[in-house]
Symmetry: D2
Subunit: 341 residues, 4 copies
Amino acid sequence: MIQFQCDYNEGCHPEILKRLAETNMEQTVGYGCDEYCKAAAEAIKKACNAPQADVHFLVGGTQTNATVISSILRPHQGAICASTGHINVHETGAIEHSGHKCLALPAVNGCINAKQIDEALALHFNDPEPEHTIQPGVVYISYPTEYGTLYSKKELQEISETCHKYNVPLFIDGARLGYGLMSEASDITLSEIAQLADVFYIGGTKQGALFGEAVVITNENLKRDFRYLIKTNGAMLAKGRLLGIQFLTLFTHNLYFDIAREADKQAQRIRKAFLDKGYKLHVDSPTNQQFIVLPDNDMERLGKDFLFSKWEKVDDKHTAVRFCTSWATKPENVDKLIAAI
Amino acid sequence: MIQFQCDYNEGCHPEILKRLAETNMEQTVGYGCDEYCKAAAEAIKKACNAPQADVHFLVGGTQTNATVISSILRPHQGAICASTGHINVHETGAIEHSGHKCLALPAVNGCINAKQIDEALALHFNDPEPEHTIQPGVVYISYPTEYGTLYSKKELQEISETCHKYNVPLFIDGARLGYGLMSEASDITLSEIAQLADVFYIGGTKQGALFGEAVVITNENLKRDFRYLIKTNGAMLAKGRLLGIQFLTLFTHNLYFDIAREADKQAQRIRKAFLDKGYKLHVDSPTNQQFIVLPDNDMERLGKDFLFSKWEKVDDKHTAVRFCTSWATKPENVDKLIAAI
Amino acid sequence: MIQFQCDYNEGCHPEILKRLAETNMEQTVGYGCDEYCKAAAEAIKKACNAPQADVHFLVGGTQTNATVISSILRPHQGAICASTGHINVHETGAIEHSGHKCLALPAVNGCINAKQIDEALALHFNDPEPEHTIQPGVVYISYPTEYGTLYSKKELQEISETCHKYNVPLFIDGARLGYGLMSEASDITLSEIAQLADVFYIGGTKQGALFGEAVVITNENLKRDFRYLIKTNGAMLAKGRLLGIQFLTLFTHNLYFDIAREADKQAQRIRKAFLDKGYKLHVDSPTNQQFIVLPDNDMERLGKDFLFSKWEKVDDKHTAVRFCTSWATKPENVDKLIAAI
Amino acid sequence: MIQFQCDYNEGCHPEILKRLAETNMEQTVGYGCDEYCKAAAEAIKKACNAPQADVHFLVGGTQTNATVISSILRPHQGAICASTGHINVHETGAIEHSGHKCLALPAVNGCINAKQIDEALALHFNDPEPEHTIQPGVVYISYPTEYGTLYSKKELQEISETCHKYNVPLFIDGARLGYGLMSEASDITLSEIAQLADVFYIGGTKQGALFGEAVVITNENLKRDFRYLIKTNGAMLAKGRLLGIQFLTLFTHNLYFDIAREADKQAQRIRKAFLDKGYKLHVDSPTNQQFIVLPDNDMERLGKDFLFSKWEKVDDKHTAVRFCTSWATKPENVDKLIAAI
C-alpha cells in the first residue's frame, strides 16, 4: 500500500536524521536556550531578511496556533479566519479552549479576501455599541491554504493593509509554507511574507522534520513574554535542541525549499495525470495537495493499492479525495499512481 | 564543562536512535493510530499488568499534566497537590490556564501524606455550604517527587484509599517513574502503581527518549474521549509513531528499567562522595537527583568544571544545589566529579 | 420619546416592587438559601409540573447561558446552536471565554430544525476519527427565538428526540419564555417544555422582574454541583432573596403569564397596524418583538417620536427595525405609535 | 433570631428603595448607558477627586474581581494576593476559571506588606529564566481586609510604590470600602485610595445597596475595552440604571459614608462588650466585622437568640466566630446582644 493520504507519513529527511545522530550525545542546556536553537533562529531570520524578528520553536501546528493567538488576544477578542481555516474546523476547539472565538468568514477555495476582512472589521469597529459582540483581535490566514491554494502577493498586501488599517495584527499559518513558496504559481518570497505578516510560522512537521514549527514574530508589540506563553501552553520542549538542530539543517544549503519544490513537482504530475484522463479537480491546487473528484468505483479501485483521504461527498456517485506529496514522496510511487489512474 | 544540571542534557538512548533510523522511511498513518503506538501500548499494559488500561502518548510533562487534569475536572474543581508539586510551581500556570486551581498542601521533602489529604477532603466535603470554595476533584502526586524522594508502598496505599473514600481520583506524575521504581529504596512495582493510581504517566523525556510521556488510564470513568482532550490541548503529535517507536524500544528487553537503575547507581555514588567529605544533604534522595548544601566558595569552585542547578539559598554562605544523573551519565564523568569533591 | 427599542426599558412590575418594599428590612440568609428562594423554586416546579427538578436563580441571561453550558461540557465539546442564537452573536464570547465553541447551524427566522441537528450530530458521531473536531455536547435553542418566532410542539419534540438519540442534552434559552408560551401561535405548555428540555431557563429580566433568570434542571445528570458552578461564574447573588421574592411574585396568581399575554397582544396590534398600511414584515413574529421593513424616510419620521432598534439594512433604501412591547407597555403609547404609522 | 452573620441580611437602604420606586416606570436605555449611571459615575469621580477615572458598575464582588483581574492579565500571569484574600479562598475558583493563578503570600490578620510583595516580585523578575513560573501581573489587596483589618496610609503607599517599581498594577477590593474609610482607625481618604490604586472598587452590596459594585479605573492603560470585558464575563446588567440609581443615591448627601460610620460604631460597641467581659479577640478589627473567640458553651448559649458565623476552631473548646454589623443594624438589637454577652 503506497500512502498519499497526508504529508507526514514518514519520519524525517535523512540529512536531519544524520545531524540528530551526530549530535545525540552532546550535552546542551534545555528549553530552547542552546546553541543550535540560536543558530537556527539566526538562519531563519537571515532567510526572512528580518534581523529584528524573534524566532521561537514549538512542536506542532495546533499548539502553535493556540499559543500565538492566545498570546495576542484579550478575553473579549476573537480571530477572524476562513470558514475552512484549520483553527476553525480541525483543532478540536483548541482556540476556544484558550478562550477565544474563531470569527469565520465564508471561504472560496480556502481563501478569504481583503474586502471581506474590511467589511467584518468595519462592521465591528463602526458599531456605536460594539461591546455586545466579540472584537476581532487578529486575522488568521494560511499560506498555502488547507486546500492547497495560494494567495497572490497583491492579495496578501491588501489583506495586510486592511489589518493594519484597523490596528489588528495578521498571523499567517505556514504549516506548509515551503510548498507554497516553491510552487510555480507563487509570486511571493519568504522575506515578503515576513514583511506583510505580524507573526507567522514556518512548518517543519510536514516538510522534512520529525516535528516542529518555527514562529517568527516581526511585530515588536507581539514579542513580549512569548517564552512564558510557550510554557503556559505546554509547548516548551525540554530537549529544545532537537528543534534547533532540525531547523538549522532545513535552513542550511536551502534544504527546506529544495525538498518542497520537488514535492510540488510530484503533486503537479498527479494533477496532470488526473486531468489528462478527464477527471475533475475539486479544487485547483498548485501545491503539494491535490483534490480530485473521483467516481466511487474509481475510488474503490485506486484504494486497493493506494492510501488517500476521502475529503467529502460531492454527489451520490462522486467523492472528492486528497492526494498529498511530501519531501519523502518517491517519484516511482507517483509513477505507479499515474499508471493506475 | 560536564553537565549534571538536569536529566535531559543529551538526545536519546542509542537503541532508540537506531530504531528511529531503521523505521524512518516507513509509511504510517498519523496521530498515534499506527502499529508502533499499538505495540508500545500493549507492551506498557503488559509491564503494568493492566490489560484493561488505556495508554496514550503525549510529548511533554507540563502538557501531559494539563491534559490529564483538565480531562478529569469540572470548572469548579481543583487539584490537590504538594506545595512543591511541579504543577504548582514550575508550569507557568498551565493548570490554571486550563481553568483549575492547584490546591497546595504543605510538603515535606516533596511529599504529602494521606492524613493531610484526608483533612483537606473532609474539610471541604463536610462543609454544609461547600459551594463557596473549590471542590477538590483530583489528587496529584509525583513519584518520585520533585525532590527525588519516594513514597513507600504503604504511604501510596493510604493515599489511594483516602482518595477513593471521597471518590476523588489519584493521578501520579511519573516524569521520572523509572528512577523511582529502580531505586534501592523503592518497595513498589509498576504494576502496583497501576493498581493504586486512577491515571498516571510514565516519563520518557527524562529517561532515554527524545521526548514523550505515556499516560496510563486504569479508571474506566476517566477513559472517555481522552484522544479528543489530547488534541484540544495541542498535544497530539502528527507523526505519532515517533512516540510509539520510542516507548516500544524502552519497553523491550527491560531497557527503561535498566537505564534508570544505572542512573540511580551513579547518583548514589555522588551522594556518598559528598557525605564522605562531610557535606550536608539538602534533601536525602534515593533516586537520580541529589540535593547538596554547598558553601558558596565550594559552589564556585565546582562550578568551573561542572554544570549543576542552584536550587535555593540556605543561608548567607550556603546554597542548596542539584546534581542529576540520567541514562546518559558516563561513569567517568561521575569519577571526575567525585575527584573534584 | 416613547421607547419600544427593547423589553427592559422600565424597572419592575409594581407588584414586585411592592413585595421588595414589604420585605426590605427582613433578615434572611444569603446566596439563595432563604425561604423566598425555596418558595419560588417550589412554585416554579409546580408550574412546570416537574416536582423532581432543581431550580436555581441567576441574575442575567449571558451569565446564565455561560454557566449552564460550561456546567455541561467537557473541554473538547461545543454547543450546537442557530447561527442567529444569542450565544453565537450577542454575548461577546462568553461561551468561548468558558472554553467552548458555538457550533452554529444556518438558521431560518431564528430557528434550526431536527434534521439539521441530526445531520450535524451524525456527521460527528459517525466519523471514524472524530477526535480532530469538536464534539457536540449540548444543543442550545431559544424559545421564542431572537427573532420572536416559535417552534411548534412537534418541532420541539423532534429536536428533543434527536438530541436524546445521541445522548446530547437539550438546553432551551427562555429569556422571553412567557411571551412565547402566551402567544396565540404557541401550541405548547410550560410543563411540556420542562419535559422536552434537559435544562431551560425562565427569563425574568425581560418579563417583569428587575433582573433574574430561573434555571430549571430536569435531567438528573446535569444537577450535580450546580451551585458551585453559579459561584465559579460570578453569578451567585449575595442577597439571593431578591431573586426569590421576584420569582415568587411572578409565579403567584399567574402574574408571569398574564403580563406576557398582554405584551403579546400589544405587539400584535403594532404588527397589524404596519401590515394594514402595506409595510412588509422582516420576520413574521407572533410574540412581543416585531420586525418591520421600513423605507428610510419612514424610519426617520417615526424616529422623531419613538425609539426602536435598527436591526439590519435590507437594501439601499430600506431598513429592518424592531419594536418590542413588554409587561410595561402602555396601550396608549401603542395607540400613539399606530396613529403615527 | 437576630442576625449578625453577615452584612447582607436585609434589602437596601430605604432611601435607595424610595428612589427605585420613584423611577420605576421611567424608560431608559439599557446596559449602563443611561443618565443615572452617568450621574452616578460623575458623583463617584468627584468623591474620588479623580476626574479622569473611568467608572463601571457590576453586580457582585466575585464577578467584579474576576472581570477586573482577567482584564489586566495575559495568560501567563497571576495575581499576588494574601493567603486569606477573597479571590484565593472564597470564590470557588472564579479567578482560575478565567485562567489565572492566585499567587498567595502569607497573611497576618488579613494583610500582606510591601516587603513581602517586593520579595515576590524581585524573586520573579530577577530570575534569569523566569518563564518557567507564573509572572505576577497584578497585586490584589482588600481594604478593609476579609478580617476587618486596615492598612495604614503609609503601608498602602509602600505597597503602591512597590507595585509601580515593577510596573505591576495595584487592585484594591473595596467590597467594604466605606466601613474601612469611616473607621476611627483609618488614616486615609477615598481620594488617596484612588491615587494609590490603579483600579479599585467601591462595594455597594454590603453597604446599603440591593447589589452592585462600582469599579474605578484610574490607570489609563487599564481602561481600554472594559465594557467588553464586563459583557464577556456575564456581568453586564440589562437594566443598568438600577446600579446607577443605587450608587447615585449612595453618593448623594454623603449617604454611603454616613451609614458605614454608624455600622462601624455599632460594631465597636460589640467589640467593647466582649472585651469588657474578658473574651479574647480572634482578630482585632476596627471595622464592621468582629472576630471573637468564644468558649463552645457560650457559643451555644448566644446561638439561641443570635445568628453569627462560625469562623474556625481555635482549640478543642473554643471557636472563633464573626459578628457583622451593617447599615441596617438596629442599635436596639446590638443592645440585646450586649445584654446577652
